[in-house]
Amino acid sequence: MKKASVTAVASMLLLASVLSGCSGDGTESSTGGSSDSSKAVKLSLWTFQDLHKKYYEKTAELWNQSHPDQPIELSIDTYPNAEMHNKLLIALQSGVGAPDIADININFFQNFLKGDIQLVELNKIIEPEKDKFIQSRFDIYSKGGKYYGIDFHVGATVVYYNKELMDKAGVNVDNIKTWADYIEAGKKVVAATGKTMTAFEVTGQRPFWPMIVQRGSDYLDEKGNVILDNEVNVKTLQAMKDMIYKDKIAVPMPGGNTGAEEFFTYMNKGEAASLIMPMWYMSRFLEYMPDLKGKIVVRPMPVWEQGNVRSAGMGGTGTAVTKQSKNQELAMKFLAYAKLSKESNIRIWQELKFDPIRWDVWNDPELQKPDPYFNNEKIFNVLLDMKDEIKSPNMSELSSASQDLVNSNVMFKSLKDQSQTPEQALKAAADELRKQKK
């Protein structure tokens, strides 16, 4: 008798432990949000950038000061880039475990707009103030006229010149208006200093992407058709290759891309006289290239031919509210507070050194303060001057795949190991994309 009950208890325990093993996650997350006795509403947020985390923490503090009737308790988790997006995708697809708010990298954003969209439509908070923002920064996170994400920054592509080297070569950066001027200036720099004019990413897509966007081209057209191998793109990539191997004013980037430790050291040592990158790269200059302090000046991109624009908005983080959130209204209000309000856009510049998407703050005294790192110039005047010239790329279903292909194949094969000509590389990638289109 005793034996029997012991056996029974033991086997029930075993079964229970096995069964609870597979449902544990689900129950935890479903009770987490709703059953709190305190007044503060719990919101969870995922990001892939530690800098963003700090920004959100402070935003939550400010929110609680200004909204004493609606306090929130924001818990933020930071995961590595690719890992966070995989986790989020699975959580959204399986219907459990997603946070209320999530930062989604623009490279992956289109993955979240496939099929039954699991993100909340944000038109309600965006539309009232839309005219104060760079419109193209909303378009890249939209589908069928509905907005699903809000960015931190414009990511306007500019040229960062190393003034010391340019002066040595006797080049006035304000006279560089076209890429032809840029190549001429580059030849002078190489002759006078022995350094190179610039470096191109070979495991990344810059400056190729901004260069074709400024010419009105792209990887995909507005309808999502593949135009990666069109004439403009071939000509542009050929020109980049010529800058490296014919004009000898550029080099394949050490470390492969602008995020590599090797490149930071290289640039910091003053080995390249300029760099074509978006505005958000200012934070990397400040953080990783201390020796360039006072030597960097920011200018618009040169143009290829008349009718080109002088910049392109690159990169980005679309912050979204998920449909799984139990407090969607509040999450949206908080998101608007964190990324749409005037104050927040000023803080985005102060704390993150990003060019905020709300252009009516670019005139603000805070953003107009001259920066000693950047030769004491008023950087935002450069942006204000070309406010209507900042185009953003077209985004659609094949966006992630096309960027992936350009990053890993096109640039490397055409500029670095030269196993394919620019035309062949673009054609091969475009054909592969066309095959993927369903």
């Binding site: 699991q118 050291t265 795949a401 992936d404 890993s408 094969k413 592969e432 095959k435």
Partner: protein, 300 residues
């Protein structure tokens, strides 16, 4: 009465065994069989979310066999062969030397060789990546610089990239294999060597005719493990090329799955590659086990 039947139920020779194996059967069904079955289903579907799927027949398989798949397969095959060429002989040598009484500090060497096995691929890999950096001030480049060799761009060449992965893997796994071989060596009776010595066998012949044949089961074991470890390799490639793989350097089949399924949100295609990988590994392992006669009855 109720109590009696419950007790009878537990004591029933028919029911009790099932009850006791149920935890394992359930684990198997839920965490192994179900995912496998749904992977097979998904490989024939276009998956847009777990709720919206559409059967598209063999389309995933048709799209899968492109240049990248064959590049991945080639990389995996070369990687597996190179790894096996190092991971079988080197640990045997270590084991033989460390098993001999003439070597001093055996315990120290054993630990030194084994410790890398305890580190994670990612942690070790990050150190390797920094050591093999492209700058001429990076560790390896500065060392070969002293020897008069120009700095190498290790990560951006297919050959050196492959070498990095193989070195990292060998450095980590050699210690584990050595432990297997040591255990194997210690089970070989001393008398065999003594009698061979009396018959005039030298060190090499003793190794070739006694040690190797008696280590055969362990060699087959490490070979089998090595083959599927090689084909399912992910971490070694991920630490060196975590965002993109230029010109498919470091693209392995599992990374191809990861790329298609997660980075491009195409779960159907990812599943199709997964199933194909399963078939490939199964075939290679079957052929290898057949060749070594593992399916034949023990012939004494």
């Amino acid at each position: 009465m109720a109590n009696f039947s419950f007790k009878g139920f537990l004591y029933s020779q028919k029911v009790a065994p099932y009850l006791f194996v149920s935890p394992f059967v359930l684990t198997f069904l839920i965490f192994f069989l179900y995912p496998t079955a749904s992977t097979i289903t998904m490989s024939f579907q276009e998956v847009q979310g777990l709720t919206s799927t559409k059967f598209i027949g063999l389309d995933n398989y048709r799209r899968m066999f492109d240049e990248h798949f064959f590049n991945a397969l080639k990389t995996n095959t070369i990687y597996t062969l190179l790894s096996l060429m190092l991971l079988i002989p080197v640990p045997i040598l270590f084991a033989v030397f460390l098993n001999s009484k003439w070597i001093k500090g055996r315990t120290l060497f054993k630990s030194v060789i084994f410790i890398p096995a305890l580190t994670s691929v990612i942690v070790a890999g990050v150190s390797f990546r920094l050591m093999f950096g492209e700058a001429d001030t990076a560790l390896i480049n500065s060392v070969i610089g002293k020897l008069g060799i120009s700095p190498q761009n290790w990560i951006l060449n297919y050959g050196t990239g492959m070498m990095l992965m193989v070195i990292l893997n060998t450095w980590r796994v050699a210690g584990i294999n050595m432990v297997y071989y040591l255990a194997g060596l210690q089970s070989i009776p001393e008398e065999l060597y003594e009698s061979a010595e009396m018959d005039g066998a030298n060190g090499f012949t003793r190794f070739y005719w006694i040690t190797l044949p008696l280590l055969k089961p362990i060699i087959i074991y490490t070979l089998t493990i090595g083959i599927f470890e090689g084909y399912r390799m992910f971490g070694e490639s991920y630490v060196f090329w975590n965002e993109g793989m230029p010109g498919d350097i470091g693209l392995t089949i599992v990374r191809f799955i990861y790329q298609q399924a997660f980075q491009r949100n195409d779960m159907g295609m990812g599943s199709a590659i997964g199933i194909t990988l399963l078939l490939i590994v199964l075939t290679v392992n079957m052929v290898q086990l057949k060749l070594f006669g593992l399916f034949k009855k023990e012939e004494d």
